[in-house]
Amino acid sequence: MPQIFSKNANGVARFVIWGSCAVLLIAAAIGIILPRSDLLTGVGEPLAQPVPFSHKHHVGQLGIDCRYCHNGVETSSSAGLPATEVCMTCHSQLFTNADMLAPVRASLASGKPIEWQRVNSVPDFVFFNHAIHINKGVACETCHGEVDQMPLTMRAHTLNMEWCLGCHRNPGPNLRPPQDVLMMHWQPPANIDEIRRQLIGVLDIHPETMTDCYVCHR
């Protein structure tokens, strides 16, 4: 009987076999890398805001304390977003006619709040508490990045569970003395490892309890 397949069929078959193996491997690699990439996590991607608020200007250049606007950060689960009034404490004096600030003035006049776009968000079933982190020596910078370098605020870390757990399993490397948590570009002293060891004891941090599910999910 005649051949059903031509001579190159064998080569094609080999190509298909090895090719599908390769495709599978590549798909697996994409499946592992993509959820962690900036493409999906939105890290480093500033969002358009109603007012182009610049942390770079307010924090980096003017040196305003974080707590001036985020006043709940030390005591509450929520760091808090400044009320329009807080913006206007300065901007009733400065840049009073800047077009850029028109929405702020409109908000105060109408009583309608400014709708900011959320930059750092976690899903609804994650209960994050700012106060405990601040009080236990986890700096603003550790999660929010160098906001004083951000003309527009953007996410500095993935904020996914893997990232959270990284620190909750081994908090040491992310600790600093609680009095320095608001400081940007903090330079660890030479004996930082020793300090961190002590901090774990002094602040009564128990990493073995920090991976319990209910720490974040309730």
């Binding site: 009987m1 059903i4 397949f5 064998n10 499946g31 962690r36 996914n160 569970m161 757990l165």
Partner: protein, 452 residues
């Protein structure tokens, strides 16, 4: 073996030659001329496929609360359907693997479709654990995947074992089946007249040419796969039974379950083999290839498995009493006289009562009657699974929490839909692939001296 004695009819009837065998079996597939009732039956099955699709859509859109489950009986027909289908899936592998290991020649004519039946039954069974979930779209969380929530399956859960067992069983069955198909695909490739059929079967046949070297390795590995499949088939249903025995619920927590489930699986599996084989041999006039001998042997195995199942029933009740556990005892009493008692007694009638008819040779060789008994046992085995699933939790430790679940149209929509889908797949299989193993029948024909 050449003589067909009255006690043991021959495996093959009449005289055959190779072109005749391969031609008859191959033409079912290649000629495409199938009896009209084949298509009628397929159409009916297709309606049931649509019912299944509708039911699944409804289930996913509304939620699992749409069918009968509740608290305390949070498992329902999705689990009993699962166990039932997995049980049916067992006979195929058993016929293929165990009878191959035991070198039983009567395996040859029925192993192919029995294996196909296994695959489709496992496919149906695999559907149910997913439909059972409250959030089916997250079923893949049972797999260890490198995810960003850094979470692993909880390996101690029998459901994870189940997942592993079913996945393994499906894969191994598929490999075993495909390996068995290779030489037959080559036959179809060579017999095919149209280019499309040549390419289709040719690609699937992987260039099989029947070299003695190939046959030598092929036989070793095929045998090894059979040897692997045998413990696998036992382990799979044992693990399915562990879903229950691992729980502390009365009526679930029983050490008899693994062997009892395996026997139950064989019983229902052989019942399903007969349910398919009896119409098949008649519709395609292959009564000389799938002979009364096959049917008779399957019926004998059924009664063997059925008696083990009956023993399981007895020992379950006995140990509930003998354990002295008030909860077990109360549950067993409630099973017999409680709200599910009618189902329980119907089950006993079908699985233990009707089964006894198979002791009689005349009944075993009476095809319509045998078919009816097989169907009855299929029903009985479904009821058995349902009773096991629901009676325990409905009457467990705290009487304040006692309660029953109901059956809704959705329970039946999905069950009958899956049955229809199963048969639709069987029909497609018969249309596309050789339902009887050509090379093995030829081998048997030669060994038995049935060649013209």
């Amino acid at each position: 073996m050449a003589e067909a004695s009255a006690n043991s009819p021959a495996v093959l009837r009449g005289r055959h030659d190779f072109p005749e065998i391969s031609g008859r079996i191959g033409s079912i597939v290649l000629s495409g001329r199938l009896p009209r009732h084949f298509w009628t039956a397929f159409f009916l099955c297709f309606l049931l496929v649509l019912l299944l699709l509708y039911s699944i859509t409804y289930l996913i859109a509304v939620g699992v609360g749409a069918y009968g489950i509740d608290i305390p009986v949070a498992w329902g027909t999705m689990i009993s359907n699962f166990v039932w289908w997995i049980g049916i899936g067992h006979a195929g592998t058993l016929i293929s693997a165990v009878l191959l290991l035991l070198r039983q020649p009567w395996r040859a004519s029925i192993n192919r479709f029995a294996e196909a039946m296994t695959l489709f039954a496992v496919a149906m069974a695999g559907l149910f654990p997913i439909l059972h979930l409250g959030r089916p779209w997250f079923f893949y969380w049972l797999l260890p995947l490198p995810n960003v929530h850094m979470h692993w399956p909880q390996w101690r859960s029998p459901l994870v074992w189940d997942f592993a067992a079913i996945a393994t069983y499906a894969t191994v069955s598929l490999l075993f089946w495909y390996m068995g198909l290779l030489p037959d695909l080559a036959v179809l490739r060579d017999r095919a007249r149209s280019r499309r059929a040549q390419l289709f079967y040719g690609i699937l046949a992987l260039g099989w040419r029947g070299s003695a070297y190939h046959w030598s390795r092929y036989q070793v590995v095929y045998f090894l796969l059979a040897a692997l499949a045998t413990p696998l088939v036992v382990s799979v249903h044992s693990i399915v039974s562990l879903d229950f025995t691992f729980a502390i619920t009365p009526g679930y927590h029983s050490t008899i379950f693994p062997p009892y489930f395996v026997a139950g699986a064989l019983l229902s599996g052989f019942a399903m083999v007969l349910t398919i084989a009896i119409p098949l041999r008649w519709a395609f006039s292959v009564e000389d290839l799938i002979t009364v001998r096959h049917m008779d042997n399957a019926a004998k195995l059924m009664i063997a498995a059925g008696m083990i199942v009956a023993y399981g029933y007895v020992s379950e009740a006995f140990f509930a009493w003998y354990s002295g556990e008030p909860y077990e005892r109360a549950m067993m009493v409630q099973r017999a006289i409680g709200p599910y008692a009618p189902l329980f007694w119907v089950m006993l009638c079908l699985n233990c009562g009707v089964l006894q008819l198979l002791w009689f040779r005349r009944i075993r060789r009476n095809m319509p009657l045998l078919f009816a008994i097989a169907v009855a046992i299929n029903i009985g085995m479904w009821i058995e699974r349902y009773i096991i699933v629901v009676t325990g939790p409905s009457r467990d430790y705290l009487p304040s929490a006692w309660g029953e679940q109901s059956l809704t149209w959705l329970d039946f929509g999905i069950l009958f839909g899956s049955i229809g889908t199963f048969f639709a797949l069987v029909f497609l299989f018969i249309r596309i692939l050789p339902a009887i193993t050509i090379f093995e029948v030829e081998e048997v024909a030669e060994e038995e001296g049935k060649l013209r």
